[in-house]
């Protein structure tokens, strides 16, 4: 499989991944992205994601800034003063982590794992506690502020679960004119990503790599990226950790602290 497969690609074909329980993924390749933002628009239209007030960045041409409650695809614009000058685009999205911080943190059970391995927020269950916001190592999920529709709840990319149930491709991948966003079974996406890196290296491109942190507690992601340069340039954490890795140590401290408090209080009352 190579880039630009047209009507033969997995982006356009109908599928039965939900019924078959196939773990799916995105592969996003900035080397063919033209920065048209069709993914952002298709996502907003399909999912009825409200518009937000414009805030001019003043730092780059990227005035969308970041993923958030009302931005589920975000095309990053990276200007680099290399020789020759390089201007790159990367369509960022929820990573649908193998071990998802938001899913673990959610106290209501509103955030669930679907048949296709994606992480989904059930809006009719979410009570807006905001704990998922500080549990995401990628800064993706956020609570939607007033007065936008659906305000108070936490929102992020749904991996177009509703479309997938009907055998359709997620809106962003469907709309992408250069197939910079590819959709299909996760393992196929992984092999395509590594194949693409090999292909680019053959052509003499040196600084590209696959962003898929399988070595950390996140355990890999379901939205894989090809990235030129280091991840930090793209605002991607180089070694993201799911916050629950600190639970054991933190709870040990809490239990010790509670025991110490009880012991101290008893000592104070029984000896004085």
């Amino acid at each position: 499989m190579t880039i630009g497969e047209g009507s033969a690609s997995t982006n356009q074909a109908r599928h039965t991944h939900v019924a078959d329980g196939v773990t799916v993924g995105f592969f996003t390749d900035p080397t063919v992205c033209i920065g048209c933002k069709a993914c952002e628009v298709a996502c907003k239209e399909w999912n009825h994601v409200p518009a937000e007030p414009t805030a001019w960045a003043g730092t780059s041409y990227d005035h969308t800034h970041a993923l958030g409650a009302s931005t589920w695809r975000h095309v990053k614009f990276l200007e680099q003063e290399l020789d020759p000058f390089r201007w790159l685009f990367l369509s960022d999205v929820c990573k649908h982590c193998e071990h998802a911080g938001c899913l673990e943190a959610c106290p209501t059970g509103a955030i669930v794992r679907t048949e296709v391995g994606s992480v989904l927020v059930q809006d009719d269950v979410c009570n807006g506690c905001g704990y998922c916001v500080v549990a995401c190592p990628f800064g993706v999920i956020d609570r939607r502020p007033d007065p936008l529709p659906g305000s108070g709840g936490a929102f992020k990319c749904t991996f177009c679960y509703d479309r997938q149930v009907s055998g359709l491709t997620p809106a962003c991948a469907k709309a992408c004119p250069t197939e910079s966003i590819q959709f299909g079974p996760l393992e196929e996406m992984r092999s395509r990503a590594h194949g693409r890196v090999a292909e680019l290296e053959d052509r003499g491109v040196r600084d590209v790599s696959v962003y898929d942190p399988v070595g950390t507690s996140v355990g890999g992601i379901h939205a894989i990226f090809l990235i030129p340069g280091p991840p930090s340039n793209w605002g991607l954490p180089p070694a993201p950790e799911v916050p629950t890795v600190r639970l054991r140590a933190a709870w040990t401290s809490a239990i010790l602290a509670a025991a110490l408090a009880v012991a101290g209080t008893f000592a104070a009352f029984l000896t004085t």
Binding site: T59, S60, G128, C129, Y131, V134, A239, A250, A254
Partner: protein, 328 residues
């Protein structure tokens, strides 16, 4: 005005003054936007700062105070039964009830994005989510102290069955065990996040919040007029541990991550808090000014909780702090 708009105004001002704008990004891109220096992607945050507002720090304070009041009630109940101690048990239970079953739940519900769905917190129990565990601890603690108070009123009525007194003891024991957990779990809540200044202290925060809660409960009871050597001893112990924790946090170096604990609004709040709950409370107590020590500790405890939230906001917004915690 947002940082972005401030930056845009700076650019306009520079263009007006000098006729052109210089800076990295302007030449190569040919565009009018200079690239501001900053870590990561144009200095934008990598993780999201907490969305919590004023209710959460206040809850950390009231929940901690109420929880540890439960522990004091249990210890005083076991140490009893002099008349003074019995009335101390009663007052501590009232503190625990008002803090743990009235004020704290209201604050938590107010903070929700969708307050009417507060009961969804009890839909499931997830031991991997400190928020879920905490909601259940608060719910059970509130139930236990409410039961203890009702049973206390019932037990003094003529003709009350003896089982009432036994049940009351059970309720006090449950509250006395869950209370310290209520005070300390909030440290886990902050520690198990992606906010650098919080997770760097995931081992210290449960101790800090627990001790702060214990000292606050003792201080509140002293302000209610109780003067007991036991409360004095608890106050001394809490202030001493706060001195140690304060020194530990000042001395230990987490590099750029701990900057927010020393600088800006969060730094001022946290240092002010450390001074009040630690040295100030300790010295006032040693010279015998008990109400002064109690007030210093309580004010410091409140400021500290707001300081930790402010630190979390600043830390979450700082991509350099996030990157500093990550090694490949």
């Amino acid at each position: 005005m947002s940082d972005f708009e401030t930056r845009l105004d700076d650019i306009r001002e520079e263009a007006r003054r000098r006729g052109s704008v210089e800076g990295p990004g302007t030449r190569a891109a040919g565009g009018p936007m200079p690239t501001a220096a900053g870590a990561g992607y144009y200095g934008l945050p990598i993780v999201k700062p907490p969305v919590w507002t004023w209710e959460i720090p206040l809850y950390l304070f009231t929940g901690g105070l109420a929880g540890m009041a439960g522990a004091i009630a249990l210890a005083a109940h076991v140490a009893g039964p002099p008349a003074a101690e019995t009335s101390l048990v009663h007052s501590a239970l009232w503190l625990a009830f008002l803090g743990g079953a009235v004020v704290s739940p209201v604050l938590l519900v107010l903070d929700l994005g969708r307050p009417r769905r507060f009961l969804h917190m009890l839909r499931v129990f997830k031991w991997r989510s400190p928020m879920s565990v905490g909601a259940w601890i608060l719910f059970l603690f509130g139930g236990a102290v409410t039961a203890a108070l009702i049973l206390t009123e019932w037990a003094v009525r003529p003709g009350a069955p003896t089982a009432v007194d036994t049940l009351r003891t059970v309720a006090i024991v449950v509250a006395g065990i869950l209370g310290p957990a209520l005070a300390a779990y909030t440290g886990v809540l902050f520690g198990a996040t992606t906010i650098p200044a919080w997770f760097a202290h995931h081992r210290d925060l449960p101790f800090h919040f627990g001790v702060s809660g214990l000292g606050s409960a003792a201080a509140a009871l002293e302000l209610l007029g109780f003067r007991s050597p036991a409360l004095h001893a608890i106050g001394l112990g809490a202030a001493s541990i706060e001195v140690l924790l304060g020194a530990l946090i000042e001395l230990r170096r987490h590099g750029p991550v701990d900057q927010v604990l020393r600088e800006g609004t969060s730094g001022r709040l946290l240092r002010g808090s450390a001074l009040l709950t630690g040295p100030a409370a300790l010295v006032l107590r040693l010279v015998g000014v008990i109400p002064g020590a109690a007030i210093a500790f309580l004010v410091g405890a409140v400021l500290g909780r707001y300081g930790w939230l402010a630190a979390g906001r600043a830390s979450g917004r700082d991509p350099a702090a996030t990157l500093a915690t990550q090694r490949l």
